[in-house]
Symmetry: D3
Subunit: 167 residues, 6 copies
C-alpha cells in the first residue's frame, strides 16, 4: 500500500531483505557545504594548519564504515573505497564523498553519512569561534549500480529507472 520500501505491509519499519539480489558494483556520491562568518583561511594559515581538513577526511571515512550502526535500517556491508574531498571556496567549504562497494544494496546512505559527519568535524573546528557556523545542502549527487540504474542530481535518471528495492 505504501510506496516506501522501508515500510512493510502493516506500515511498520523493516529492513529490506536483499537475499534475492546479486552483489554488483555500487557507487554513490554526495556533497554538502559548510558556511562560516569567519575567514576560513584561518583554518590553514600554515602547513600544519591543514590538520582540520585532514581530520575531516578521516572522520568522513570512519563515518561511512559506521553507517549501519548509525542508521538502523541500513545493511552492514564491506566497502571497497571511501573518498572524501574537501575544497575551500569563497566563504564556504565543500565536502564531496564517494563510496564504492560490491554489494546487494546501494551505498547512498554511506556517502551521505560520510559527508554529514565530515562536515560536522569542520563545524567542530569553527564553532568555538563562530557559533553560527552551519552546514547545508547535504544531498546525493550521483549513484550507479543496482536494478534502479544510474542517476545523477543534475542529469536525472539514466535509462533504467526502476526504484532500487534496497536501501
Amino acid at each position: 500500500m505504501t510506496p516506501f520500501t522501508h515500510l512493510d505491509n502493516d506500515g511498520h519499519l523493516h529492513m529490506v531483505d536483499v537475499s534475492d539480489k546479486e552483489p554488483t558494483l555500487r557507487r554513490a556520491e554526495a556533497s554538502c557545504v559548510v558556511h562560516s562568518a569567519i575567514d576560513l583561511d584561518a583554518l590553514a594559515p600554515t602547513t600544519t594548519g591543514l590538520d582540520p581538513v585532514v581530520a575531516a577526511r578521516l572522520v568522513g571515512i570512519q563515518a561511512a564504515k559506521r553507517t549501519a550502526q548509525m542508521i538502523p535500517l541500513c545493511h552492514p556491508l564491506n566497502l571497497n573505497d571511501v573518498q572524501v574531498a574537501i575544497t575551500k571556496d569563497d566563504g564556504a567549504i565543500t565536502v564531496r564523498t564517494t563510496v564504492v562497494a560490491v554489494n546487494r544494496t546501494g551505498v547512498e546512505m554511506e556517502a551521505l553519512a560520510a559527508c554529514a559527519v565530515a562536515a560536522l568535524s569542520l563545524v567542530n573546528a569553527l564553532v568555538t569561534l563562530d557559533a553560527t557556523a552551519r552546514f547545508e545542502d547535504l544531498v546525493l549527487e550521483r549513484k550507479s549500480g543496482g536494478t534502479s540504474g544510474d542517476w545523477g542530481r543534475l542529469i536525472g535518471a539514466g535509462p533504467a529507472d526502476t526504484p532500487d528495492e534496497g536501501d
Copy 2:
C-alpha cells in the same frame, strides 16, 4: 597565534585540556530541515506510519551519545538528557535537538550530531523514492552554561561572551 582553540601553538589539532574548568550545567540546541519532492505525509498515513519519526528520534539520541566516537576532538562525556523533536510542516520536516549535561565542556557538538544523524535517518526513509531528498541549515540554535555564557542564534550573545575554551 591561531585563534582556534583546537590548534595548539604549533598549529596542530589537539584536544583542549579542560582540567581547570569546573563541571557546570550545559545545554545546547540545534536544528535542521529535511526537504523532499514527495508528499511527506506519505511517511505517516496511518498510526503505524509514524515509525520513521520514532526511529529518527531514537537515532538522534544514539548519535548524541556517540559524538566523541565520531568527532575526534570531542571529549567523551555523560549526558543528562537528549531530546529530539520532529515536526512536519509544509513540504519540510524540522528536526530540533536539545542536549543537557553537567560537564567541563559544552554540548554543542552533541546537539548538532544528534540533529544531523536524525535527519540522515529521515533521508534514509525518503531517498529510495526521491533521490533528491536533502537536508539543510544544520545550525546551533542556542547554548547556555560555561565561561562563554549564554548565546542564541536569533538573540546573539548574552552578557558573558568570552569564547568558551572547551569544545
Copy 3:
C-alpha cells in the same frame, strides 16, 4: 576430545575457521517472552504509545548487527535481513526475530542476540514501574542452511543433521 566446536584440541576457546565452507543462504529464528505484573496495554494506550514497540524493533535490528562485537567467537558478517516482530498477548509480550545472510557460518547467534536485546528494551520501558518485569524462554526456533541442514524446535532436525562446524 571435546565435542565443543568452540574448544580447540588443547581445550582453549577459539574461533572456528570457516575458510573451507562455501557461503550459502542462512536463516535463523528465535523467540522470547516478556512478562510484567502491570497492564501491558498501558504501554500503548494511544497511537503514539506504540513508540516502545517501534523502539524494541529497531533495537533488535541493531543488536543483530552488533552480535560479533558482543560475543567474541562470533564471526563478523554482513546481513541480508533482520526482522523483529512483537506481539502482545494476555499478560505477555512475545518477541520473534528472523535473521538472513549469505555466509560461511550460521546466524543463530544473531537471531538470539536480536531477540534478547529487543526484550531488554521492552523491560527498560517497564522496569521503572514494575521492578519484577522479566523475560524468559529465549530460544532458537528454527534454522536453515549450512552443512547441518534444517532444524526446528518443534519439528526436530531435518534429513541432514551433521552438526554445523561454524557458530
Copy 4:
C-alpha cells in the same frame, strides 16, 4: 497521563532528564539461568575447559559498559564496578551480575544487560551441540540507591518506595 517515565506528555518515548538529581551510589543485581539438554560439565572437563566461563564473565562486563549503546533511552554513565558470577548447578548455569556506579540514575539496565549477554555467550558455546539450549528468567534481583530506595525481588520494597524517575 501515562505512568511511564519513558513517555512524555504527548506519549512519545523520551530520555528522562536527570539534571535535578544528585549523583549517589547506585547498585543493582540481576540473574538468569541457562538450560541445556547436554551435560554441562562437558563445558569444563579440564582446567582449560573453564574458558567458556571466563569468556562469559568478560562478555558480561563489556555488555554492562555498552548498555547505553544497546538501549536508546539509557543514559551513558561511568561504572565503578561490574561483577559477573557464574555457577553450575544440576543441569543449569546461573549467571548473577552486580553493577555499581555513582550516578544520577540507576544501574538496573546495566545489570540486566550484563546478565543477558553473558548468558548469550554461554548459549553460544552450547548451541552448536544442542540447538535447544535456552536461557530464561532474566530478572532484576535487587537494587539500592536513588529516590526510590532499596528494593529486592524476594523482600519487596524498602521504606522509601517512590518510583525512581530515572531509568
Copy 5:
C-alpha cells in the same frame, strides 16, 4: 610520485580502492613479546589464574574485528578466523596471532592489531604491580595471498613480490 599506496597523487591520505581486485584467501601472522620485572607465573598460580591469558586471547580476537574502526584507512571486512596463542617463556610472554579472510585486501593490519591489543590486555594485568611492564617487537611474521604473494619475516619474499596495492 610517492611510493605510498595510502597517499594519492596530491599526497593526501586516502583509502585504496580495491574494486579491481578479486576476493582471494588471505592469511597474516604477527607476534609481539610482553616483558615484566615480576614473576610471570604469578599470573597463573592456580587453575583459575589462567584467566588473564584467556582474557588476552578474547581481547585479541575482538581487536581483530575492530581494526577498521581503529585504523581509518583499513577496509571493513569479514574474517574467517582469528587465532591468538599466548606462551609464557623465561621472563616473557609471547603473543602470536593469525588472521584469515577471503577478501580483496590483506589482513596484515588485523593480525597486528589483534597482537597489540592482546598484549595491552596482559600489560593491564601486570601494570598495577609492575609499572615497568612493557611490550616490544610487534612485527608481522608472515602473510600469504594477494598479488604481492607470500612473504615471511625470516624467509623473505616468495616468488611473487609486487607490492600489494591494498592495505
Copy 6:
C-alpha cells in the same frame, strides 16, 4: 592471596570496585617507537605528506577514548585531555601520549592504548612498502595522582608508593 588487583579471592579476573575512592586528577604518559627499513622522510616529503602523522595523532586520541571497550577490566571514564606527539628521528618515529582525567582510577591504560594504536596507524602507512616495519618498547613513562602517588620510569616512585588499587 594473589597480589594481582585484577584477580579476586578465588583467582578469577574481576573489575576492581573503585566506589571507595574519591575522584582526583590523574595523568599518565606512555611512549613507543616505530622502526622501518625505508626512509621515514618519505612519509612527509611535502606539506600534504604530513597526513599520516596527523592521522596517527587522531587515531591515538580515539583509541584512548575506546580503551574500556578494548580492555575488559578497564573502567569506562571521561577524559579531560589526550595529547599525542609524534617526532621523527634518525630511522625511527617516536610516539608519546599524555592522558588526563578526574577519576576514581588511573589512566595508565588509556595512555598505553593511545600510544599502541597511534603506532599501529603509522605501521599501516609503512607496511605495504616495508613488511618489516615494527614497533617496540611500548612503555609507561610517568603517572601521577591516586593513592599510589607519582611514578616515573626514569626516576622511580615518588614519596607515596602504595600500589594503586584501581587499574
